[in-house]
Amino acid sequence: MSAVIDSHSDDHHHGPAKGITRWLYTTNHKDIGTLYLWFSFLMLFLGGAMAMVIRAELFEPGSQIVSPEFYNQMLTNHGLIMVFGAVMPAFVGLANWIIPMQIGAPDMALPRMNNLSFWILPVAFGILISTFFMEGGGPNFGWTFYAPLSTTYAPPTVTFFIFAVHIMGASSIMGSINIITTILNMRAPGMTFMKMPLFTWTWLITAYLLIAVMPVLAGAVTMMLMDIHFGTSFFNAAGGGDPVLFQHVFWFFGHPEVYIMILPAFGIVSHIIETFSRKPIFGYTSMVYAIASIAILSFIVWAHHMFTVGMPIAGELFFMYTTMLIAIPTGVKVFNWLSTMFKGSISFETPMLFSIAFVALFTIGGLSGLMLAIAPADFQYHDTYFVVAHFHYVLVPGAIFGIIAGVYYWLPKWTGNMYDEVLGKTHFWMSFISVNITFFPMHFVGLAGMPRRIPDYALQFADFNMVISIGAFIFGLTQLLFLFIILKSIFAGKQATSEVWEGAKGLEWTVASPAPYHTFETPPEVK
């Protein structure tokens, strides 16, 4: 433990380097956190721009602005960029900034690897985006890249896509190893596991999930690569392989991945609800167990994405039951949040507004997820807009609202200035309304029979699609306001105190605002 601190003693007493080298060579967890957050923000706008193209194409029936082929590239890259470029790096960025401060550690355990794990990300996405300018265009087989559409029938650029996925995976794995090692070895004296802040807890479990499943994804894309270039037949029926095997391997990664994108948000929201209700979190222990059981269950539910591939009935029933079980720990969490608010003294600053919206809308997403778990009903829901509505409800007002809430919550700690509360509330209300205009009608068109991933649709879906598109445009534009609010708080704003929020608990609120470049060089005592 002390050795970790010693290894940094050379840059103990000076601040950050000047100019670009500060960012290129930095090993400081706060700098790297900032880099991750800005990168994910950039990716959010890039993936969002693709979503705008999709919604413009679907604004009215008939061909609008892009060809079906380009539309497929848009929906594929929208998915890939949002999942691997926006949501995941944003959580890693928050982890980098906050976890060492929450557990009273001076930095991450492996600072040089931390730098590497960030800087390979822009390379990965650079490769991915460069495929758009190559012959054959970018990946066009959906973010789930089912074989053989992504192998035998893929554009030649699929090799670059595989390479990019490998790098993204390596980045996530390195980031996770770093986070686990930091949490297990560098907690301040006295901070036992059951005293750890919930954000740290959720990230510990998320990091284990990442380490368990990212290598499986790497394996899946490696098998694809071998099928394409080395004549193997993992997924090719001609050589004795099986395209359905790809789906099993993919979803063995893919389902835990879904929880990777939501668990840290649970942690963030728990902190915020506790702070703004001015009451300790209800059922801390059950929260921890709930998160752990969600994580464990996530390994035995994957085939609920594949109810229509023709599984034997025993398989369908098994995956239906296990999937339904997930509702129990998730319900426990929602009730814990509500109980935290009960008899509290609640104030409604922007982070709290986003957190309350998170709980409400995540509940809707969770309930539609429960409906999707019912295998026979899923024969009708599967691959329709109902599914699109479901996962956007858990990812946009779920994961992304969680991230936005976290950013507002910790922003004064990062910049030293309060953000503009009026603008923050405007941002919230605009986002909250438009997110529902966008995603709620998707339930209806899905149930009425509109398949997902189509560039044009039958006339009965026209009205709702127009509404969805309008909602999406408003939501997209609103996020520019978020950018402005962040920039404004970097350069101006009311000076924040160290505590920032009345009654906020946790070690991160004991250091000055903005947080000094080095914090907790001497570990604090936790009682």
Binding site: A237, R278, M320, I356, P376, Q380, D383, P441
Partner: protein, 378 residues
């Protein structure tokens, strides 16, 4: 201005239809037309209302919390942080609710997985981007292509009522008979879905999945491919026409008769104009997706036909490509999909259209030549 009006109209319709559920079919799952689909619909409505009630309770309680416990001057928040009895209670409560949902779902599942014998067995094959139907008992086989024309898709012509949900030849099935579907694919994974039957089954190359249906009423039922299968995934609808068993018999005989008629047609003397006209239609349905209306294709994947040396001067090679497809390329064999007349006509069309007539040898292909090609193979 028109657009703004439309947007407002759309908003108003949607707002109006939500509380009134005026167009129930536009916002909810179809109950369908057979026992299984109705059972799945009932199951859906049961879990839907359970979810609505849970959702309403949770959201209602949230509103109460937000109103009742907002920060007031001098109030002291409670400091409790757990309540084991309460926590156990709601955990058990969730489990009970889930069991209530799981039990009917299990029974429905068992009924959906019925492997009983079918009166009629139909092999459904997904191709990029069309469906092929083969009636195993009656030896009838045909392809079903989207019939919505490009002008509608490109917003030049007004859109018909069944825009993107219409095909040149629907699957015909008799009512009150047990139909068993054997579902597979020829290239990538597709998924065959007819909401009214509650049948959605993935079509996977090399494997055969089964599904079944029995329709009580005559009618036309529409669905779509629901697994991303490439560029024109959105353009391969499923149309099923359910007719009385008597009409079905008639239809089968007609199909068989047509096959014989088709063979006779190859003997007929064809004029260039006749072939050109048929060929244009065939081209619109089968070829424009890749080779485009103007014959320019989308190089490098889909080569141009206009001005192509092969199309201009190598008739024999062109016939071979149509009949055998091109190995390792998107071009498939049309020998089974199109009749001899259609193949001859479409080749003739490509050799005459877009100025190819003037720059090439301009020879036409008659159906007899296609038949000869087939016979030489055998």
């Amino acid at each position: 201005m028109v657009l703004i009006k439309r947007i407002f109209a759309a908003l108003i319709t949607c707002c109006a239809s939500l509380p009134l559920f005026a167009g129930w079919g536009d916002v909810n799952m179809t109950p369908g037309v057979n026992a299984l689909s109705r059972e799945i619909f009932d199951l859906h409505m049961t879990i839907f209302w359970i979810c609505v009630v849970i959702g309403a309770l949770v959201l209602g309680f949230m509103v109460y919390l937000i109103v009742a416990f907002r920060k007031k001057e001098g109030d002291k928040p409670a400091q409790f942080d757990d309540h084991p009895v309460l926590e156990m209670t709601w955990t058990v409560l969730f489990a009970v609710i889930l069991a209530v949902m799981a039990i009917p779902a299990t029974f429905t599942m068992i009924r959906a997985y019925d492997d009983a014998e079918g009166d009629i067995n139909i092999l459904i094959t997904g191709h990029q981007w069309k469906w092929q139907y083969e009636y195993l008992e009656d030896e009838v086989s045909f392809f079903s292509n989207l019939s919505t024309d490009l002008d509608q898709r490109n917003n030049i012509a007004p859109k018909s009522d069944n825009y993107l949900l219409e095909v040149d030849e629907p699957l015909v099935i008799p009512t009150n008979k047990r139909i068993r579907f054997l579902i597979t694919a020829n290239d990538v994974i597709h998924s065959w879905w007819v909401p009214d039957f509650a049948v959605k089954q993935d079509a996977i190359p090399g494997f055969i999945n089964t599904a079944w249906t029995q329709v009580d009423e005559e009618g036309i039922f529409r669905g779509q491919c629901t697994e991303l299968c490439g560029q024109y995934h959105g353009y391969m609808p499923v149309v099923v026409k359910a007719v009385s068993p008597e009409d079905y018999e008639l239809w089968v005989n007609e199909k068989k008769e047509a096959k014989i008629q088709q063979a006779l047609l190859t003997e007929k003397l064809w004029s260039t104009e006749e072939l050109y006209e048929i060929g244009e239609g065939v081209y619109q349905t089968n070829c424009v997706a890749c080779h485009q209306v103007n014959g320019e294709g989308l190089p490098p994947v889909f080569p141009a036909l206009a001005g192509s040396d092969l199309v201009l001067n190598d008739k024999a090679k062109q016939i071979e490509i149509l009949m055998e497809g091109v190995q390792g390329a998107a071009m498939q064999s049309y020998a089974e999909q199109l009749s001899e007349v259609d193949i001859a006509a479409v080749i003739t069309y490509t050799r005459k259209a877009w100025g190819n007539d003037a720059s090439g040898d301009g020879e036409i292909v008659i159906p007899k030549e296609i038949l000869d090609y087939k016979n030489n193979k055998l």
